[in-house]
């Protein structure tokens, strides 16, 4: 059951983050603001998905797995980086510094992509690498 849940979570990450990636920022006068909001939204949604994959991996025993535990730690590290960047991006958005908000929001998302990469590896390792 745990493995099944884990695979479902990985599939969800694949599909939902894919949809998030496809969203295109508005091309109007508020383009900078829209771009910033879009990056932040992508980062937020990807964060939630990565956390769910990681939670499932942990539930399946990844923290106790001799190899997967390293990926769990790596994912957690990147989630931390992502959270810091996301908070900074949101502060910049509130301060109407849209260029900074977009750049840092992009970085937050990049951190979550790295976290997701590690979380997927943790999941694969704990389920036997398939």
């Amino acid at each position: 059951m745990r493995t099944k849940n884990l695979l479902i979570a990985v599939a969800a990450l694949t599909l939902l983050s894919g949809r998030a990636l496809l969203s295109v920022p508005a091309q109007d006068q508020d383009e900078d603001k829209a771009k910033a909001e879009n990056w932040i939204a992508q980062a937020d949604s990807t964060k939630a998905l990565v956390e769910s994959v990681l939670d499932s991996a942990i539930e399946a025993g990844a923290e106790e797995h001799p190899v997967a535990s390293g990926q769990v730690a790596d994912a957690q590290r990147w989630l931390g980086e992502g959270a810091r960047a996301l908070a900074t991006a949101k502060e910049a958005l509130a301060a109407e510094d849209y260029e900074r908000a977009a750049n840092v929001g992009n970085m937050a998302w990049q951190y979550y992509v790295k976290a997701g990469t590690a979380a997927v590896l943790a999941a694969k390792l704990v389920t036997g690498g398939t």
Binding site: T14, L21, L22, V67, N103, Q110, T117, L121, K124, L125
Partner: protein, 650 residues
Amino acid sequence: MRAKRAIWAVAAFAVIALAIAGPQSCTRGPAGASVGELARERGLSEADITAALKTYLPTGQLDEYVMFSSGGHSGQVLVIGVPSMRLLKVIAAFTPEPWQGYGYGAGGTMEALEGGLVNGKEVLWGDTHHPAISETDGEYDGQFLFIDDKANARVAVISLKDFETKQVLHNPLMGSDHGATFVTPNTEYVIQSSQYAVPLDGSYADLSEYQERYRGAVTFWKFDRAAGRIDPSRSFTLELPPYWQDLADAGKGPSMGWVFLGSFNTEMATGGIETTGVPFEAGASANDMDYLHAINWQRAEQVYQSGNGLRRIQGMSVIPLDVSISEGLLYLIPEPKSPHGADVTPDGRMIVTAGKLDPHVSVYSFEKIQDAIANETFSGRDPFGVAILDFDAVLEAQVELGLGPLHTQFDGRGGAYTSLFIETAVAKWSLEDFTLKEKIGVHYNIGHLAAAEGDTRTPDGNYLVALNKWSIDRFMPVGPLHPQNFQLIDVTGEPMQLLYDMPIGIGEPHYAQIIKADKLDPWLVYPEVGFSPHAMASDPNAVSSGEERIERNGNRVDVYMTAIRSHFTPEHIKVRQGDRVRIYLTSLETIRDGTHGFAIDKHNINVSLEPGESEVVEFVADQAGVYPFYCSEFCSALHLEMVGYLLVEP
């Protein structure tokens, strides 16, 4: 037929035994144990056994395919049998390799390496990326192999008659390359495109002048098949916008005459995290779309040959960007997002791209591209005036595959295979209905993948190799630098089956191509005694038996030497300190595997003399003393007696 039945009987027995025994811990099993006992004791599953049966080759049997793989930072090319995944050879290209006598005195090899001087300096490593087998009519012809060195924008030419490097060239216009090497369908040209933009003239320009002074480029190196060399004097380059051009693929069939290059950093980000706080990874991934470059190389060839508007930059003929625009040589096509691979389908009708940060592959129609060009269905122009084709007008389909799609290969049955880096899997999808069929996990984080003849007009499919960047837990630990992992996958049916793991411990290989073994026709010995591998012809300085001699002319000493089991002739070479010594070496051997070496103590000289080969080594005898020279290849029972003395008188 009997043998086939026997194999299946063994397999069936093993499977039954397994079903009874169930998996157990891995042990060696006693010698002489039955298959069933071995399987039980080693804990092998039915899938393990079928995988073993599909890959095992008894001694003396040969592989069905040969894979040429980049050797990564080793600067070499790996030759691997498929499906056995046995390493057959390492071909030295950019890096000296002593066993092959490449770069340790043998004249032809020294000349090849000198061709790769970078701004006059020796650079004796290479970051090999993409091997390309020569093609005829869009099919591998097994005659030549090309490989690039990303780090130094170099290209090497390897003959598949003797699997040796004949030529190395440096492209002075580029800092580094990535869209290299790829060939046009008849190997008219070897394609090399830049990765990170630099000023083409090699001058300094501050990053604040990035848009004005920095440029990308794609060079079409003219290949002279008869000479077995690239001819720089008949090669040309297109100046490109300072995006970071990526992988390339040449059109074929209906798209013959075109080449397609992915790109990223169309933002033209200049990085500087330390001052701007925006690293390249954010700046160069800000746009939702980058640009696939569509280049009409046949028309570019005509422009080059006309000479109109050409510039000479660092000795290279360059078609400036404004000429490419006015002549209709270059168009841009939006492609999402931070794209990497660009792969033309076997029928030449479609181009598949994959964005590293987009879960889809995007499939473009060549016919729609042509219509959009003809009808000027443009969504705009880039800052340099290059027309951007309307995305929707040229898109055929998008297929959602998974996280981190990179590269696509084909199986000739309508199947396409795309590597998924983040998801660490290979996705199989259909070119007919553009749907995902299945995925197989790989270990781990795949980069390129190579299917048998998978980028030709008629791919075989059958086998696919995943070139994985990480191995993590797949192999015995060997310290913090882990091997990479090539995984062989059977793609003859569904589901795909993982067959074999091959650790690669010499570099970070990028791409590979797999050719049918029977398309290769290498020499087993050189065609005649006294053959020069460099000239690929009879060597006028070759030495016949009985004509060995030493000639002095002033302070130059010419030694005409032969080698045969188990002696060199002459065995004594007496020179004076300061003499320039040239030794013409000829192997008189004519049998398969009758290779000799020629190593001189303390002179950094080691030559591989394959049967019939003629070589020359030249050096200054600058230190008085006694220096044995010997055969460095175990050639015969009295191999250790195959020796001589270089005597350097003070």
